[in-house]
Symmetry: C2
Subunit: 304 residues, 2 copies
DNA sequence: TCCGAGCATAAGCGACCCTTGGGGATGGGC
DNA sequence: GCCCATCCCCAAGGGTCGCTTATGCTCGGA
C-alpha cells in the first residue's frame, strides 16, 4: 500500500553501482549477489519512471535522471548515516542527556558521587540536575520534564497510597535512618539513643513539608504533638538552629552527610524510623541506556 | 543480509507519530492500520537500540534519541522528496537535458523545427546541439557524449557494414534525394534531369568526406572517375563555387533546403540516388522520456 | 460503572527480496 | 580466429518481512 516510494536501500545500491561502474562489483561491495543488484535497479527504475543507467557495451553509465538521483543520494545517505551515528551514540552512552530531579539531601550526597562515576565511565553522557521535593519531582517525571526523579517515602505513611508509583519503575537506593539532633549541651547529648516521646516537651525544628508531616504523624503515634517552632527545608539551617539551642530535630541521616554539625550532636531515636530513598523513572525511559546507566550509578553510590 | 539499516519508511512513520502524537492518528495519516505503525516503531526501536518514544498515559512523547531521529528525518525526507520530484520532472518532461549531435544539413533544417515544437510542448526540456559528421557522431553516442545522433547513410554503400548500427536504436527520418547542381549557364541547366555519366568530364565539387566517398563510388559504378577540384563540407561554399562556374556538384536535397542557390540551378540525376537520414540513440536512452520526445519531434519534423 | 479510544499481541497471508542455476553477449588473450 | 573469462539478464524457488484482521488490555471520561 505504501509502495512506489524510493527507499534508502535503493539509493545505496545505485550509489554502489555508480561508484563501481558495474553490477557485479556493486554486489561484491554490498555483500550480495549480482541478480539482487540487478533487481533493485529494475525496481528503482520502475519507481523513477525513466531509465537511470545505460548499459553501453562494457561500461555502465548514468542517465541524467541517474546522475540526479546519485547527486541527491549522497546527501540523503550522509544524513541517514549521521542519524544512525547520533542514535548509536546515544544508545552507546557516547552522547545523550539525562535530566535528573532530586531532593536536596540527595542531590548533595548521592548525586555528585553517581555523576562523577558516570562521567568517568561515559564522558559523553551529560546529566543535568534540578532540585525538587518528591511530590513535585514525580509530577515533573510524569509530565516529561525529567527522566529520573530521586524521591523518598516513609513506608508507614498511609496517607499517600502505596500504589502512587505503581506505574513507574522504582529503583530502591537506600533506607535512610532518621536520627535525632540536639544541642551539644542538651541533657540527651551523650545518651546515644533516646525515645522520641522523651523529647515531647522540646521545641522542634522541622525539615521539608513532607518530613514535617511525617514527623507529626510519628510523634502523635507516640502520644504527643510536637511544638514546631521552625520549619525549613534547608538542613544547614536546621543544624544551625539546633546548635544555637533553639530546639531539637529529627533528620534523615543522609541530610547530615554533607552538613557540618557544629554545636549539635546526633543520637539514635526510638522507635527506629526510616525513610526509603528511591529513584523513579518511566517504564520506557528505564530502557534508555543513558537513563539505565545513571540509575546504575545511583544505586552503586547508595551502596557505599 | 542487509538488515539493521534505518529505512526511509521508518522515518516517515516516526515523523507521522511525532506529528500526530498517536499511533492511530499516524496510521490514518499514512493510510494504513494502527498495528502496522506499532510494528514499524518496534522495528525502528530495535534498530536504534534504544526506545524512541515513551507511552506516558495518554500522550506519546519522544525520547532524546527519538527527537534526534525526527530532527534528522526532516532533512532526509526532504531530500528524498526533492530527489523524487527532480526525477519525476525529468521523467515527466518538465526538466531534463538532451544532447543532440547532428550533421550540418540536418542541424539547419530538421533540428530547428523539431526543437521548436519540443520547446512549445515541453518548455522544461533543454536540448543542446553539437555538429558532427556521422562517423564521429555515432562515436560520440557510444562514448556517452550525446543522447541522440542524427546521421545518414547511403544504402548502396557496402564499405560500411550495414550492421554497423545494429546495437543502436534507429529511427528513420527521411530519404533524402540527391540532386545535381550546375551553374545557371550550364548546358544542362534547363534539362530537368541528367545522367550522372553525362557529367563525367566536368570538374566536381564535393561535400563532406563521407559524401565524397559515396560520390566517387557512384560515379565509378557509372563508368568514370570524377575529377574533384574542390571539397568542403560547407554547403553554401559548394553552391558558391558552382554558381561561380567552377564545377558541378551532387548534393543532398536537404542540404539545399536552407541555402540560397543563387547562380546555380538544380536538376534530377540518373540513376536516382538517395541517402537515408536517421536518428540514432542507445537502447536504454530510447526509453528516457526526453530522448523519446525529441525523437518524436524529429520524426514529425521530417514528415513535413 | 459503562463506554470509547488507543496500543499491544497473535495468526494468517500476500508480497517482496534474495538466492541459485542457466543462457547470451562482450571483450581480451593465446 | 578461437577460446575463455567476465558480466548481465532471466526464471524459479525459498525464506523473510510487512500488512491486515481479530482480540485483549488499559486508560479516561460520562
Amino acid at each position: 500500500m505504501l509502495g512506489g516510494m524510493i527507499e534508502a536501500r535503493h539509493l545505496r545500491v545505485l550509489r554502489a553501482v555508480a561508484a563501481t561502474g558495474s553490477f557485479s562489483a556493486a554486489a561484491r561491495e554490498l555483500g550480495c549477489t549480482q541478480p539482487a543488484v540487478s533487481q533493485q535497479m529494475k525496481v528503482l527504475e520502475g519507481a523513477a519512471g525513466t531509465p537511470l543507467l545505460i548499459r553501453s557495451g562494457r561500461e555502465m553509465r548514468l542517465t541524467e535522471a541517474g546522475r540526479a538521483l546519485v547527486r541527491h543520494a549522497t546527501g540523503i545517505l550522509a544524513g541517514l548515516t549521521a542519524a544512525e551515528e547520533e542514535v548509536a551514540a546515544i544508545a552507546g552512552l557516547r552522547a545523550g542527556r539525562v535530566r535528573l530531579v532530586s531532593f536536596p539531601s540527595g542531590s548533595s550526597t548521592l548525586v555528585p558521587m553517581a555523576l562523577a562515576e558516570l562521567r568517568a565511565a561515559h564522558p559523553g553522557t551529560r546529566v543535568s540536575l534540578v532540585e525538587a521535593e518528591p511530590p513535585g519531582s514525580v509530577e515533573m517525571l510524569r509530565s516529561g520534564d525529567c527522566e529520573i526523579a530521586l524521591a523518598f517515602r516513609y513506608p508507614q505513611m498511609g496517607e499517600e497510597a502505596s500504589g502512587e508509583w505503581d506505574d513507574l519503575v522504582l529503583r530502591p537506593l537506600l533506607n535512610d535512618r532518621l536520627v535525632g539532633v540536639v544541642p551539644e549541651g542538651h541533657k540527651f547529648a551523650g545518651a546515644g539513643a533516646v525515645g522520641i516521646a522523651e523529647l515531647a516537651g522540646e521545641p522542634w525544628i522541622a525539615g521539608c513539608p513532607r518530613c514535617r508531616g511525617h514527623l507529626v504523624e510519628v510523634c502523635e503515634s507516640e502520644g504527643f504533638t510536637p511544638r514546631i517552632d521552625f520549619a525549613t527545608d534547608d538542613y544547614p539551617t536546621v543544624i544551625g538552629l539546633v546548635g544555637a539551642g533553639l530546639g531539637v530535630a529529627v533528620l534523615p541521616e543522609l541530610a547530615l552527610e554533607s552538613v557540618r554539625t557544629k554545636g549539635a550532636t546526633t543520637l539514635e531515636v526510638e522507635p527506629a524510623v526510616r525513610r526509603e530513598v528511591v529513584a523513579l523513572t518511566l517504564p520506557d525511559l528505564a530502557r534508555v541506556p543513558a537513563v539505565a546507566a545513571t540509575l546504575d550509578r545511583l544505586e552503586q553510590a547508595a551502596r557505599r
